[in-house]
Amino acid sequence: MIRLYDYELSGNCYKLRLLMSFLGVEYESELVDFYPGNRHKSEAFRKINPLGQLPVIDDDGLVLRDAQAILVYLASKYDGSGKWYPRDNPDLLGQVSQWLAFADAITATASAARLHDALFYTHIDVGACRAGAHRLFRILDEHLFFAEEAGQDWICPGDHPTIADIACFPYIILSEEGGISRMDYPAIRRWCDRFKRIPGFTVMSGVFPAGPAADEDSKLAS
């Protein structure tokens, strides 16, 4: 069984819990005391990931770090439909990769601001992180606004979400814990509702479920 080195409050770990829940993949969580224990910097954990970062998975001996990399791996291996990570569609694959990199930038800004506010990472320049997150959110909101105009629900074209949506979601939905309001991003807020309605969606601390969609609006087939 897949072992996930996991921390409940980590948005990056949440990305993997989300994908495995969407895919119905079984896994076991190995909880790492990130705060206050700082166990991800312990000698034992650095032998697993020399970067001292979560998440890490161990899938039958294959040890992988980096949330985006693990999303690519899990979707490629366990998603028979090929929709979450469309390996055979170069156009789409390029776009997915572009937004995976964008998700990393969200982590570097919105997640960092949250670490500052919620987990006492006081050395972080929170003003710069918030400004950086707002720059990214403006770009994503504009992108999603025009996606809606084109009849698209998700970050990448097509009738099904991809791992790009999963990679972007956690630190967007948790942004207010870092003092980053989403009021100026109505298209992002609507996309968050749609994301929460994907069958198999799970919550984490600070993330609330959406209510059911109106019947005529529920486009997503399970």
Binding site: F145, F146, R189, P209
Partner: protein
């Protein structure tokens, strides 16, 4: 900030920002709004705070009829913003109306408009009958700076601009098309540019138009924000949030008004919904109707001076009207006949605010409704509530024949949960009820309403099957028990420090009223529970059909309209 600004209308959203089952977050002059469209299309603009713990309602759940706070599940109704449910006391939803703050709103020209105290006309929109709503562009800059820069907006050759009386800017290109640009002042250093193009568009052309303006407005934003960054940032606006009154901290007490007809409603529909049963749709003459809870009834003051109680049949979210069902009683004392024959569409009636003495628990794992004839009305409202929230229930409706089934359409929405039992004899009814009620259990509840004999039988069957007293809920529509008012006794009013004598021929309620004590009442025959009063000491002769046997045995409350003392003296908690 002057109140003058607060009385203006401002666009705060595009219509397309409000899909169903979504809650939009907005800010105007420092005040946050939770904005949501109900399934009936109505747009609600509310204070973005739950009355309970102040959590933002913009993270709540829009279920199409109500907005549910994410924190503790308080529910607020479409249109009225009245609180319909407080989970902390599931057996007793608020007895009177608690409302969140609503703000004036209109939806016109593809935009949602609001203002803290907005009144009067929207800006004159001549020339903008057909529009394309541009993508709104938020700007971190003061409103005045944004408005000033909008004068320099250029989207085609030969643009000229002019400022309108409402402060918006119209930019017209040499070729003809015009764009009207509004500024939503969110806060002292935060605005949103909202634009309308004076022509409709669709398809690729629409996307091209939207992208063109979006790009130009974002470029304009960069310039405005650069200018704003070099200026001193103003302090954020301070808004006053109305304090939650002290009494909301506790379970709200029942209102102390007497039998008052404080509302005026117009009969906007009158139709036969089943044989001998007429349904009336009642709409307020002015303003919204008070929020009701499922199980609530109203007093209807009839033209002939009679006052009658009728249960509301409405489902959740139906806040713009009340619907009641009235059966023509052959031995009517004048109430049902007056409604059937004397009330017409267009008539104005005086009614009381809804009162709920038949509350619905929503913490049950399963609920069984047993309705007989016209007893269907309060149970229908309850079942619609559970159905809307996806809570499990079954509804058994006993009628003489198919022609006697009232409110067919509402039942149609509940599918398999409803079973209609037609034309059963009393014996067959008993057998059916024994089957229906064979499985009592933890967190299972039964609600019964119907004619006296059927109600008695059902209560007995439920008790025999092992349903706990607390799990059997019932409401009589009249009290047919023989009542004795021959005794004479004294009542001590513990809180009012008065001693009064109740002579034979008068009720406790009569005597209280004569002494100037404002006691609420409704049916005045011991069926509805409105005039319930606590008893501190003394033996009670219960003559009502509201209290359960257990409550009667406990002797802690009395229905002052019919019940009396069995001892010489009663000490009442009043």
């Amino acid at each position: 900030m002057t109140t003058d600004m607060h009385s203006h209308w401002y666009p705060i959203a595009s219509s397309s920002d409000l899909p169903k089952r979504h809650v939009y977050q907005a800010k105007l002059l420092g005040r946050e709004f939770a904005v949501w469209r109900a399934d009936d299309g109505y747009v609600n603009v509310w204070e973005n705070r739950c009355l309970h713990r102040g959590v933002r309602l913009s993270i709540g759940i829009n279920d199409g009829k109500e907005l549910k706070c994410q924190y503790h599940g308080w529910r607020y109704a479409n249109r009225t913003a009245g609180c319909t449910y407080i989970p902390a006391h599931p057996a007793d939803a608020p007895a009177r109306t608690i409302c969140n703050h609503r703000y004036p709103t209109q939806e016109v020209h593809g935009l949602v408009w609001a203002g803290e105290t907005a009144s009067g006309e929207l800006p004159d929109m001549e020339g903008f009958d057909e529009v394309t709503v541009l993508r709104p562009v938020p700007v971190n800059a003061p409103r005045e700076l944004v408005a000033q820069e909008l004068r320099h907006y250029v989207f085609a050759e030969g643009c000229t601009s002019r400022e309108e009386a409402d402060g918006s800017v119209i930019v017209t290109a040499a070729g003809g098309p015009s764009v009207r640009l509004f500024v939503q002042p969110c806060d002292s250093n935060h605005s949103v540019i909202r634009g309308l193009l004076d022509q409709a568009s669709e398809g690729a052309e629409r996307v091209a138009i939207l992208k063109h303006h979006n790009w130009l407005l974002e470029e304009l934003r960069s310039r405005i924000e650069a200018a704003a960054a070099s200026m001193e940032t103003p302090e954020p606006m301070v808004v006053t949030i109305a304090k939650v009154s002290e009494d909301l901290v506790d379970i709200p007490p029942a209102s102390e008004d007497g039998r008052q007809a404080e509302l005026r409603v117009q009969v906007t529909e009158k139709a036969m919904t089943a044989e001998g049963i007429v349904s009336l749709r009642l709409e307020a003459l002015k303003g919204p109707l008070p929020t009701f809870q499922p199980g609530a009834h109203i007093d209807v003051h009839l033209q002939n001076g009679l006052v009658r109680q009728y249960s509301l049949t409405n489902g959740p979210g139906e806040t713009d009207h009340y619907t009641i069902g009235v059966k023509r009683e052959p031995d009517s004392r004048g109430g049902s006949v007056a409604i059937h024959d004397g009330v017409a569409k267009g008539d104005v009636l005086a009614i009381s605010a809804p009162r709920n003495n038949f509350p619905l628990r929503r913490d049950a794992t399963h609920t069984v409704f047993v309705a007989g004839g016209i007893g269907v009305t309060p149970l229908l409202s309850m079942a619609r509530t559970l159905n809307s929230q996806g809570l499990g229930f079954e509804f058994h409706y006993f009628v003489q024949s198919g022609a006697h089934v009232a409110f067919n359409q509402a039942f149609g929405e509940m599918g398999d949960a409803v079973t209609i039992h037609e034309g059963l004899s009393p014996g067959e009814t008993g057998d059916t009820l024994r089957d229906v009620l064979k499985s009592p259990g933890r967190a299972r509840h039964v609600y019964i309403c119907g004619p006296g004999p059927m109600l008695e039988a059902t209560r007995q069957i439920a008790a025999d099957a092992g349903w706990a007293d607390e799990a059997i809920h019932f409401e009589y529509f009249k009290n047919t028990t023989e009542r004795d008012d021959s005794s004479s006794f004294e009542i001590d009013l513990a809180r009012s420090a008065m001693t009064l004598t109740v002579p034979s021929g008068k009720t406790i309620l009569d005597v209280l009223r004569e002494a100037g004590i404002n006691m609420s009442s409704s049916c005045e025959q011991g069926a509805c529970g409105t005039c319930r009063c606590g008893v501190i000491e003394g033996e009670i002769l219960h003559q009502d059909v509201y209290l359960s046997p257990k409550e009667k045995a406990e002797g802690k409350s009395i229905m002052t309209c019919v019940s009396r003392a069995a001892s010489d003296r009663l000490i009442l908690d009043i």
